[in-house]
Structure formats: structure tokens, C-alpha cells
Assembly symmetry: C2
Homo-oligomer: 154 residues x 2
């Protein structure tokens, strides 16, 4: 980057930017938001993690800001870090699963917010189609006799 | 931060810095390194993720750099992001589990590298004692009849 004052080049250490996304389950459906900003399309609620905030806190905050929902039973699913998953810059998303009740209300970056089931998913931004394919595959695997995933206490 | 040329203040967006740590299994034991730099103590092999590198690539790279081991069967375990887990700055570690054979050799940031089993763990830096407690608890849970954790394809 360049200094905004003197315009000379500055080296800043920068790794991938950590983000969170949340699969919010409401009565067997999941919550998606329609993005107001590019890349357009539908997406899981989520966003950048703030410095000094745990990823769990960030997931609850983003869910509330973007959908108005208070999420419970939050658990980690998987972290997606392929450098090409967001064309704008290298972001890595830690994806959470949680439950909510009531009706979501669009806030912040969201144009609309709606509930979808697996058979009626819209066109998704980023790698969110892959994330949801993994999510539904893991769900089916559990329903067919495998135990719940083992999660560390948190 | 301040510009190194004109010394005027600059605002740089900064989230937590993503890191990876790897639990490398060798014949029922795990590999730990003794840190040459503060915070001193023993730790899982690991380090900062580079921009443009997936977390999986970072885990394999750090394992090789710090222990000389080629890790196989890499899978994600959990991401630890509590802001107090590293006193120097807010880092968030995505922890992986993998397997290796042969004998580890200390490299890079490592003073010594040794194999440990659960009953003989040394004093650990960061939150690595908690990470390993979670790891051994998950392992026992699997041994007592629960199925393997469900992991998305990667």
C-alpha cells in the first residue's frame, strides 16, 4: 500500500483476512441474504472478524446485524481458505452452524433475507454453494447413523 | 501505525492474524517443538498463514519447515480465536491433525523437537494445553463408539 499523506510505498504484513459465515437453521430451512454490494447474489450471513473479537462473537454479531436473529447452539463447521474463493482479496471463512426462531429481518449489507431449503437454493456468491453442499452432505451422513461430529468444548 | 517515511498516522484495517498449528501423529505419539523465541516453552508446530496460501498448504509447509516431516491424512480439527490466547497480539489458530512417519528434525523456530504421549506432556505455550486436552478428549470419544467426526471434502 501507499501512505495516504506522502504517497510513498509501505510494506504491511498481511495474511488472509479472517471472516465468518453462519448457517442459521430455522425449522429445517436456512437463512440467506441477498447482497446489496458486489459480488451480487445470495449468500450466507457473515463478514469480517474484528480485531479483539473471537470468531464465535463475530458470528453472533454478524447474524444479528444482517438478519436480526439471535442465534443459539452455535458450533463450528469448517474453515474455507482457498485463495480464489473471493475474487476481491484472499479471505478465509470459518463457517458456523446455529439455530434461531422467529422471522429474519434484512439489515446492514442485506437487500432481502429469506428462508430456503436444499431443493430451492438460489444462485450463491463466493464458494457458498460448495459450503452448503458440504453442510447438507454432513447432515445426511449424520441422519444415516453416524454420530454427531465431535467438537471440542468452547 | 505510522508511515516510515513521513511518520504521519495511517489507518490499516487489521483483523486477527490467521495462524495454523498441526498435531502430527507418529506411532501414537505427537510431535512438539521447543520454542527458540518468546513465548518460550513447548508448542505444536505451526505459524502464520501467508497471503495467497490455503490453511492446508500453510499447515503442510510449517510442519515441513519446523520438523522436517511430510504430513499426510491432513484434516481440520478446530479454530481457536480467543483474543487472549497469544499475549503479543490477536492471533487465531486453525488446528489440523495429520500423520507422519520417521523421525522429526528441528528446523526454523524450533530448539528441540520431540515425541510425547498424553501422560508425559511438557509445559506448553499459548493455549496449546487446552488444544491438546480437546484433542485427547475427542480421540477418546471416538474410541468409545462414536463415529469419526464428519468433515467436508477438501
Amino acid at each position: 500500500m501507499r501512505c495516504p499523506h506522502c504517497h510513498r510505498p509501505i510494506v504491511v504484513y498481511k495474511g488472509p483476512s479472517p471472516t465468518v459465515d453462519i448457517i442459521i437453521e430455522i425449522e429445517g430451512k436456512i437463512v440467506l441474504i441477498e447482497r446489496k454490494n458486489p459480488p451480487y447474489g445470495w449468500a450466507l450471513p457473515g463478514g469480517f472478524v474484528d480485531y479483539g473479537e473471537s470468531y464465535e462473537q463475530a458470528a453472533l454479531r454478524e447474524a444479528l446485524e444482517e438478519t436480526g436473529l439471535e442465534v443459539s447452539d452455535l458450533r463450528q463447521f469448517h474453515t474455507y481458505s482457498d485463495p480464489s474463493r473471493d475474487a476481491r482479496q484472499h479471505t478465509a471463512s470459518t463457517v458456523f452452524i446455529g439455530k434461531a426462531g422467529g422471522r429474519p429481518v434484512a439489515g446492514d449489507d442485506a437487500g432481502r433475507v429469506e428462508l430456503f431449503d436444499e431443493g430451492s437454493l438460489p444462485s450463491l456468491a463466493f464458494d457458498h454453494a460448495r459450503i452448503l453442499a458440504d453442510y447438507y452432505a454432513a447432515k445426511k451422513s449424520r441422519q444415516h447413523g453416524a454420530a454427531d461430529p465431535i467438537h471440542p468444548s468452547s
